[in-house]
């Protein structure tokens, strides 16, 4: 187990470093010298040189990379060329919002998918189970932003029950914080929940066909008892994979929901950075997103091992 953890950790760290190189290289090929962009066309060569020195863009790329990547470890993302504000605090603010948004959305998805998927599997032969399956198929087919727009329309504009958008920090007003996030959570949760329902259903169906479930019943457990005690944890293994995949794609995928609900998350920051050509900011956000996905992969791998003893020795 310890060996496995060490190995996974190593893979995670190496991948992150490689991702860092990729992100840096990608940004380096972007046309446009940040100093030129900042000073405009009428700038003097001296001013340009001075600004390049100030930005540090006059140094060799490798040195720039090491400086930047080394800074990341301490949370120093550099200072924006455009806004001349430090990037680190912005990213950490936004990351917090996105994590709450995506985490809550996934929680909502789980709360929907686990009961619904299990129910649909257990009752896969009767009409209600089929209806749930059909619902989840339809849910998958609806774009998240459309779900968001409709939720706003119904709950905010028509019912006037919840805010249509905006974000209130938890520390400022916990009730408003919750209210401001409820619809975004729901729109992520409904769509992701539909996707997840399918996976939970098929995982539970698979597990229900497993011999050890029959063994459990032969021991004297009832159908549901066997499923509860022996099935769910086994079914969780494939579901955790999907959950990891979903979480990873959602970190950036949530940007459309952020847009609909005017939530200042990481995706929004990225789009702002792109619109303002704030390359260092874009670079930082992309790096954080990519590292987060890799981290999620790592956590999923570890969760696997925690769930499934067969993986601990192997690999």
């Amino acid at each position: 187990m310890i060996l496995y953890l060490l190995k996974r950790t190593a893979v995670f760290l190496v991948s992150t470093a490689v991702a860092g190189v990729l992100v840096f290289a990608f940004m380096a090929v972007l046309p446009g010298d940040p100093a030129e962009v900042a000073l405009g066309v009428n700038a003097t060569p001296e001013a340009l040189a001075e600004l390049r020195r100030q930005f540090g863009t006059d140094r060799p790329p490798v040195a720039q990379f090491l400086d930047w990547f080394g800074g990341l470890a301490t949370g120093d993302f550099g200072t924006s060329y455009v806004t001349s504000a430090p990037i680190g605090p912005q990213i950490s603010d936004r990351l917090g919002v996105t994590v709450v948004l995506v985490g809550g959305g996934m929680l909502a998805a789980l709360l929907i998918a686990v009961p619904a998927g299990t129910f649909a599997a257990v009752h896969h032969r009767n009409p209600l189970g089929v209806v749930i399956s059909a619902f989840s198929q339809v849910g998958i087919a609806i774009p998240a932003f459309l779900a968001g727009i409709l939720l706003v329309f119904v709950f905010a504009v028509q019912a006037q029950a919840l805010p249509s958008g905006g974000y209130v920090p938890l520390a400022e007003d916990p009730v408003e914080w919750f209210r401001s996030l409820l619809l975004p959570w729901l729109s992520l949760g409904l769509v992701q929940g539909a996707v997840l329902t399918r996976y939970v259903r098929s995982a539970v169906l698979d597990v229900m066909r497993e011999d050890y479930l029959r063994t459990a019943r032969a021991k004297g457990r009832g159908r549901m008892g066997a499923l509860w005690r022996h099935g769910l944890r086994n079914a969780a293994v494939p579901v955790v994979t999907v959950l990891g995949l979903q979480l990873a794609t959602l970190l950036i995928g949530a940007v459309v929901v952020e847009r609909v609900f005017v939530i200042p998350g990481l995706g929004d920051l990225l789009l702002n950075g792109v619109a303002a050509r704030d390359l260092l900011l874009v670079q930082g956000v992309v790096m954080v997103l990519v590292a987060a996905v890799l981290l999620i992969n790592f956590v999923v791998d570890v969760a696997y091992a925690a769930l499934d003893p067969r993986l601990r020795g192997a690999r």
Binding site: G32, V37, A38, L39, G40, V41, N42, A43, V82, T83, S84, A85, Q90, D93, R94, L111, I112, P115, A116, F119, L128, I132, F135, I149, V152, F155, A156, V157, A159, Q160, A161, L162, P163, S164, G165, G166, Y167, V175, E176, F178, R179, L182, L186, R259, V260, F261, V262, P264, D268, L269, L271, N272, V274, A275, A276, R277, D278
Partner: protein
């Protein structure tokens, strides 16, 4: 049944949370604030500033938020467009109209505590040449020197008489900076205005709080929150659900019906200085050919464009002059919609051109109409939306790498941009420059005459096409007063606002 159960439970949760918020949230808070005389107001905007330094960053978002509210100039425009004193109590103009002696208001302090003196006036004018990074600083090129006579008197000497000088001082170019407050303009603006920066949560809002040391009358609203919405629909929804009090500019004009209830909302529709220009690159084929440009002007059915792209809100114009300017003349008849005429001018040729537009609602909507109408005469325009501001500014504005573009030129009295042949229009007619120079140096009557002639010339030259005048569409909650009908300055002035 389990799924249905969950639905009911979720619905119940929503409702209970909603009820609790509805009772304890905004309603109660409103009452409280009124009781303590601490009025606050939140105004929704579409474009958020990338930073707060309008001396280095283009775009209207920064002066909109900060000018008059945080930064003040020597003069300002009143609601009718007249120039009135602000930091200058009064001024005297020499007989040759080249020397302006400003008497400064006393007891004015910057929000960093420093006193405002004639030294700051000299400092601010010098910064235009040394620190500003914008092309528009050329509008004050006629300033020859600025001197301090004493602490409360500053003398500005012009190289030639200029009608636009005082007017320009009312724009961001005339903003007064503190000698000790320019270290971090991007994040910490320091001005003499009635408001100072309270909080800026990037991507969400800027809060301006009343400046306790303000020299003049305290504004009725002590705390204004500028909330930013990239999405026009989200902005509408925010007002509909009480998230904000005012929409500064409706960017989804078709949706105005939502605010039809006069008991809840007030819709203000007026004009702005914003000419939505279909720019044509005069500097390269095919639009270096006047006939092709003229064909474009004939090919566009402006009324149809306004009706479809912007819900018919706004006004048709034929030149770079809004009706609120004194030298306005109706030039919409210069190029009537005439497909046959356009085809004739093109001589049967067809063209493929690049239409590189900012990814803003009005531009994307207008571009689709323009493309469709140009296709009727054989000009195939390929629309490429660029992220605004950065990519558009870089590709079109700075490098003029475009054939057609569409942008709302919001700066007041900006017909002069056509006189600069390096401007992205690449319009180069010396006659036009002469007319403008004559207008600026001449008497008031000459000014009007020459501006009229210049507008006529550029219209006939088809230097660009003018799609429509951007409407000032403001929607406010019932009871918000002091909103301007016409937006004629760069600033969204909060000082006159109140809440009943």
């Amino acid at each position: 049944m389990r799924r249905i159960g969950i639905w009911i439970a979720a619905g119940g949760l929503l409702l209970s949370i909603a009820a609790c918020g509805g009772g304890g949230g905004s309603g109660a808070a409103d009452g409280e604030r009124q009781a303590t005389q601490e009025q606050s107001l939140s105004v929704g905007f579409v474009a958020e500033p990338a930073n707060l330094d309008f001396t280095s960053t283009e775009g209207v978002a920064i002066p909109q938020a900060l000018l008059v509210n945080v930064y003040e100039g020597l003069v300002k425009l009143d609601q009718d467009g007249a120039i009135v004193p602000l930091l200058a109590e009064k001024w005297e103009v020499s007989d040759d109209r080249k020397t302006y002696t400003f008497t400064l208001r006393q007891g004015v302090k910057f929000s960093n505590g420093a006193d405002f003196t004639a030294d700051d006036v000299v400092f601010s004018f010098e910064r235009l040449k040394t620190d500003w990074k914008l092309k528009i600083t050329s509008q004050l090129d006629m300033v020859e020197k600025v001197e301090k006579k004493d602490d409360t008197t500053a003398v500005v000497t012009l190289s030639k008489p200029s009608n636009s000088f005082l007017y320009t001082l009312a724009t961001r170019l005339g903003a007064m900076f503190s000698r000790t407050g320019v270290d971090d303009l991007a994040n910490t603006p320091v001005g003499t205005g009635p408001y100072q920066l309270g909080e800026w949560r990037r991507g969400d809002h800027i809060r301006l709080d009343a400046n306790p040391g303000y020299w003049g009358e305290k504004p009725a609203i002590s705390s204004v929150t500028l909330k930013y919405f990239k999405d026009a629909t989200a902005l509408n929804n925010a007002l509909l659900t009480g998230g904000i009090d005012v929409i500064s500019a409706v960017n989804a004009p078709e949706s105005l019906d939502q605010f039809a209830d006069p008991n809840r909302f007030e819709v203000i529709e007026g004009t702005t200085n914003g000419e939505v220009v279909l720019s044509m690159n005069n500097g390269r084929p095919p639009f270096d050919d006047k006939k092709v440009r003229q064909a474009v002007r004939h090919a566009i059915d402006h009324q149809a464009l306004l009706d479809t792209a912007w819900a018919g809100r706004g006004q048709l114009i034929g030149a770079m002059v809004p009706p609120t300017d004194p030298w306005y003349e109706d030039r919409t008849g210069d190029y009537p919609y005439d497909v046959e005429k356009a085809k004739e001018l093109l001589g049967g040729k067809t063209y493929d051109v690049k239409m590189r537009i900012p990814n803003l609602p009005y531009a994307v909507a207008s571009a689709q109409v323009v493309k469709s109408q140009l296709a009727q005469v054989g000009i195939n325009a390929d629309i490429e939306p660029l992220e605004f501001p950065a990519r558009w500014l870089d590709a079109v504005f700075t490098n003029a790498d475009y054939d057609l573009s569409i942008i709302n030129h919001v700066e007041p009295r900006d017909i002069s941009i056509f006189a600069n042949k390096d401007y992205y229009f690449r319009y180069d007619n010396p006659e036009f420059g002469k007319l403008l120079a004559a207008a600026d140096e001449g008497t008031e009557q000459e000014q009007i005459e020459n501006y009229k002639a210049a507008a006529k010339l550029m219209s006939e030259d088809a230097a660009a096409d003018f799609l429509f005048l951007f409407p000032n569409l403001i929607v406010a909650k019932k009871g918000v007063t002091g909103l301007p009908k016409n937006a004629i300055s760069e600033s969204f002035d909060f000082t006159g606002l109140a809440k009943q």
